[in-house]
Amino acid sequence: MHNYLILLRRELGCYFLSLTGYVIIAGALILLGLGFAVMLLAYNGDTIDVPLTELFYGTMFFWLIVLVATPVITMRLFAMERATGTFETLMTAPVGDGQVVLAKFTAAFLFYLVMWLPLASCLRLVHHYTATGLEFDWWPVVSTYLGILLIGSLYIAIGCLASALTRSQIIAAMTSFAVGVSLFLLSFLRFSVGQRSGFAAQVATYTSMFDHMEDFVRGVVDTRHIVFYLTLTGICLFLTLKVVESRRWR
């Protein structure tokens, strides 16, 4: 545990003691702000039946943050260590492979969480101006965060795996982005296959991230969504561990 915490601190330092980390957060916040600003401009003067804060997840800005930020956050995790030669030093240190993988994943995940924290103030701010007289309901915000974190954990785990597979940060980011986008595009299957009956329809609905986020933003927490993201995250981290271990038997 001690080793894990030391590694975690080291990884967090890489994010928060460099300008890069803050640039990533600023970039994400620009997209976040743009998303809300575009919605405000589009709906100003209109009456809608769902709060503006619920509509944000449906915009391209939300998914752009998830799809672009996670590869950028994770691309350096293993690839940079390999490229600079510090990977071997790390691997020969008295720490387990599992601890290394978990520490890197946790650091990236915590950074991702910090990146999304301003969303709460955005939601509060927009609600203040757009839903006058109505109490701000924090519970949907809590569930929205749960959704964002679950999706983020999966994408970060994919990023970890991509980063572990190569020594080039660009290739790692591209691989992670491609896999992430493919997974995201699966959501669109729901609109065709998902409306029929049968196994394919069930799978399309079960894997639709749109559906999952729709539930989360409305304050609905479904154990199926949680299990889906946690198991996929687990698989990706397990594969990352195997890739890291592979240097021993190559």
Binding site: G33, N44, Y206, R224, F228
Partner: protein
């Protein structure tokens, strides 16, 4: 030297194969485990509803009905995506689907998927104007729910300059659950239509007077329509949920009227469509009975100077606040040579007395005429005829509490001074005719068992009316100030570490 070479060669081929096999098996095992966990998760799951969204939770009644669904129920949402009810309908049906795996929900956007929409229209014999509806099918039977049925409205804004009519509640759950329950039950509500006096024929496809389109509407609502002759000794059957008298030509005998009266006294439901054109300007015999229930049916023709159509027709847009016609605001009902039908309920009478309310009427420029010349010109009799708003249909309710679903023993009557407006050709002439038929039947059938006691869900509305200055201030905060803060912190950290 040879020994040194052996040491640097690493794992033997066999060891590599063994490790590879080991890793391969462990990966397959982990994937299989994940698949199993997900499979179990889909079968045994829990949904929590946090905060105000508890409103999206299904009622126990709906859960009970859905638990009884053992075969596939196909629900087609034939809605335009821009319809304000599209979101609530799809959201609710998603909850239904989560509750019951045997539900298949399909969305057909009739504006985009023309071929599929056409197939549905042909299969369910829908008119081209009949769109924005939910079709629930089970075991070869179908139930159609139109968007006009799905909302409760607040009409207080009608009197304001904006004439705004607000949707205040969504009745989807009560209607969908009732429809699914009705389809599973296999027993359909029974509507008897009186015969023997030259009434409209529900089997006739003749355009002017045939009622086959109305019969289709009943079939879509899963209502069994049966003919009824009261000329013998038979009474109105016990299982009669609605009795319809559609445009009798001949006089209904006193004996028959008494039987109908007994039926109404025991909580019967009556749809009376009385046309003076059909009865040859004579009374039908029902008038005294209806008078006893608070409805005066005149023996004149109603006209409207403001909304006249050639041939004695009127386009009615003057609707009351009654639940039958509330959803028809903004639409029109087309009637031809209608009789005036007035509510005669006196104010201050006992609570259990019949309450008669007008449904639709002419404009303030309406008038009645006792006679019409051969050339079709109305001739008013100053003694018998009148000017002003002339009601053309009335609803009577006795024994139910206002705003609550009707009690089993509550009597309900809908009387319209016209019957041709629901005939095959005319029913499609104005958007409100079919809507009126649909809503009147729904109101007459409204019983606790039908509505399943599920209250409508209040609809939330969010008006975004930001002044330009506030809008731009907010935009700057969101796009510049918020991203600027971490950037400044980053620069400070970078600068400090550089030093």
């Amino acid at each position: 030297m040879a020994a040194q070479d052996n040491v640097t060669s690493g794992f033997s081929t066999w060891s590599r194969v063994k490790i590879g096999l080991n890793v391969g098996i462990s990966i397959v095992a982990v994937l299989a485990l994940a698949a199993m966990i997900n499979y179990l998760a889909t079968r045994h799951y829990k949904r929590w509803y946090l905060g105000e969204q508890a409103l999206t939770r299904l009622s126990d009644e709906t859960k009970r009905v859905l638990a009884a669904v053992t075969n596939e129920v196909h629900i087609t949402v034939m809605f335009d995506r821009n319809n304000p009810l599209y979101g609530p309908v799809m959201g609710l049906l998603k909850e239904y689907r989560n509750q019951c795996a045997n539900l298949v929900v399909e969305h057909v956007d009739y504006k985009r998927d023309l071929a599929r929409a056409q197939t549905l229209m042909t299969r369910h014999q829908l008119a081209p104007t009949e769109t924005d509806l939910v079709i629930i099918e089970y075991g070869g039977r179908a139930r159609l729910i139109r968007d006009t049925e799905l909302s409760d409205y607040d009409l207080t804004g009608v009197l304001t300059p904006s004439h705004e009519i607000k949707r205040i509640a969504f009745k989807g759950e009560a209607l969908f659950t009732t429809a699914i329950g009705g389809l599973l039950d296999q027993r359909s509500p029974r509507l008897y239509y009186l015969q023997g006096h030259g009434e409209h024929d529900l089997a006739s496809t003749e355009t002017k007077f045939g009622y086959s389109r109305f019969a289709q509407l009943l079939a879509q609502k899963n209502i069994q329509a049966l003919p009824l002759w009261l000329s013998g000794t038979s009474d109105v059957p016990e299982d009669c949920q609605v009795l319809m008298i559609a445009g009798p030509k001949g006089r209904i005998s006193q004996d028959e009227v008494e039987r109908i009266g007994r039926y109404l006294n025991r909580g019967g439901r009556l749809l009376a469509l009385l046309s003076l054109v059909r009865s040859g300007q004579n009374d039908t015999g029902l008038e005294p009975l209806l008078a006893a229930w608070g409805v005066a049916v005149g023996r004149q023709f109603a006209f409207d100077r403001n909304n006249a159509v050639v041939g004695g027709g009127i386009i009615c847009t003057n609707f009351s606040m009654h639940p039958i016609v509330k959803p028809l605001r903004g639409e029109a009902i087309y009637v031809v040579l209608a009789r005036p039908v007035d509510p005669t309920t006196a104010p201050g009478q006992s609570a259990d007395a019949p309450r008669a309310e007008p449904l639709f009427a002419t404009s303030t420029e309406g008038f009645t005429a006792s006679e019409i010349s051969e050339s079709g010109v109305p001739r008013s009799n100053p003694v018998r005829d009148r000017h002003g708003t002339i009601p053309l249909a009335v609803a009577v309710d006795k024994g139910s509490i206002r705003g609550v679903g009707a009690d089993k023993s509550a009597t309900r009557i809908v009387v319209a001074g016209e019957s041709i407006f629901l005939a095959n050709e005319t029913i499609l002439k104005a958007s409100g005719n079919l809507g009126f038929a649909n809503l009147a039947i729904s109101w007459l059938l409204d019983r606790p068992t039908q509505l399943a006691g599920i209250p409508p869900r209040p609809l939330r509305e969010f008006s975004i009316t930001l002044p330009k200055t506030v809008l731009w201030r907010l935009t700057w905060i969101l796009v510049l100030v918020m991203p600027g803060v971490p950037l400044v912190i980053g620069l400070v950290v970078w600068f400090k570490r550089r030093r």
